[in-house]
């Protein structure tokens, strides 16, 4: 089994191409099926990734600890964090749903950010190649199941739904989830292939 250099294979149709030379910001698409083949990155963009991921982790903690919205009806008020909402669903006997929400909105985003930070940490690939490979695979496994942007839309829908019957105050958590959505989109604009471009040890 030999590594073939200078070739790229389309994930979605198996076509083989010579690896294109891309400048930062450029992207190559497969002429046969239209899938994204490769994109050019700059060292500046790669250097931004670590601070953005760190910021993502901080915002994640804030988003999870702060109330998302406060509701008030006839003098009775109630605020909830996502944790409390998941717990109250669990107490209602809806274990599968509370587990799904817990995973897609809390556990997997955290895993993704933490894994991304380990991968971006300087020299982590050379120091622990085994762990690096494992974490890289873990990251691409959880990636499709991270749904923070869907949660954000869900919060907005819930707020509008309640605003017909109660006084609604958006809390810190709502803004934090907005920021987290933006940060995750920045961090995730690169695929797992990007971690593997340097230091091929085959």
């Amino acid at each position: 089994m030999h590594l073939v250099h200078g070739l790229i294979v389309c994930d979605e149709c198996d076509s083989v191409y010579r690896k294109p030379d891309l400048r930062p910001g450029e992207a190559a698409t497969c002429p046969r099926c239209g899938a994204r083949l490769d994109r050019g990155t700059s060292s500046a963009r790669r250097a931004r990734q670590l601070p953005l991921t760190l910021a993502g982790l901080v915002v994640f903690v804030i988003a999870n600890l702060s109330p998302i919205v406060t509701m008030e009806i006839q003098g009775v008020s109630n605020a909830t964090t996502l944790w409390q909402a998941v717990l109250s669903l669990y107490r209602q006997g809806m274990l599968p749903i509370s587990a799904a929400v817990f995973c897609t909105a809390i556990l997997f985003p955290l895993t993704l950010l933490a894994a991304h930070m380990v991968l971006l940490w300087p020299n982590s690939q050379n120091r622990h190649p085994r762990v690096f490979a494992l974490i890289s695979r873990l990251m691409s496994m959880v990636r499709p199941w991270v749904m923070v942007e869907v949660l954000l839309l869900g919060i907005l829908v819930a707020v509008v739904k309640l605003s017909h019957m109660a006084e609604i105050d958006p809390g810190v958590g709502l803004w934090a989830y907005g920021a987290l959505t933006v940060l995750l989109a920045c961090v995730l604009s690169s695929g797992p292939q990007e971690h593997w471009t340097d230091g091929i040890q085959a």
Binding site: R32, L82, V86, V157
Partner: protein, 210 residues
Amino acid sequence: MSTTERPPRARDIGLVHCHHCGAVWSAAPPHARCSRCGCKLHARKPDSIARTWAYLLAACILYIPANLLPVMVTRGLLGEQSDTIMSGIVYFWVTGSWSLAAIVFIASFLVPLLKLVALLLLLVCAQFKTRWRRRQRACLYRLVEAVGRWSMLDIFVVTLLAGLVQLQSLATITAGPGALSFGAVVVLTMLAAQSFDPRLIWDTGDPTPP
């Protein structure tokens, strides 16, 4: 256009690439692992069609209770009210939130339905190895992968409402049995899309497809 301009396909020239890290290998034995990242190498996802059928059929069956059973139950001073996916959309419509009605209609009703139909079409076409509109089908597959997650919207809405509206005497909201099947439909269709191998669209017998 002459056939020589068309790019070859990896399996036809004895190459296999790692789905995870993108490394291209020649002369890889069956069931080999990528020596760069350790992922299993396979020219096509194993049992792609059978596994996609299994997930898709399960999703189709659960789609019925997901739409008929209540996803949310509201208990208040005025009694008990059960909401299905559709009645939730109608509620937004009659209270004048048309844009939200449209968003929820697309995310909770249109996307799951179109996803089931699209996956069914992709599967049947791949099974018969037809050359019909391969490029459009490749586009359709990417669309299904991209929009599938948005159907979780209603699950998040119900979770938040169930967390917020717990005012003992005034009103409480709980998730209904429909939410269980609806969540299962979303997860199952996502698993179906993940287990479908888009390369099967192009495995139609001609040496180098256009």
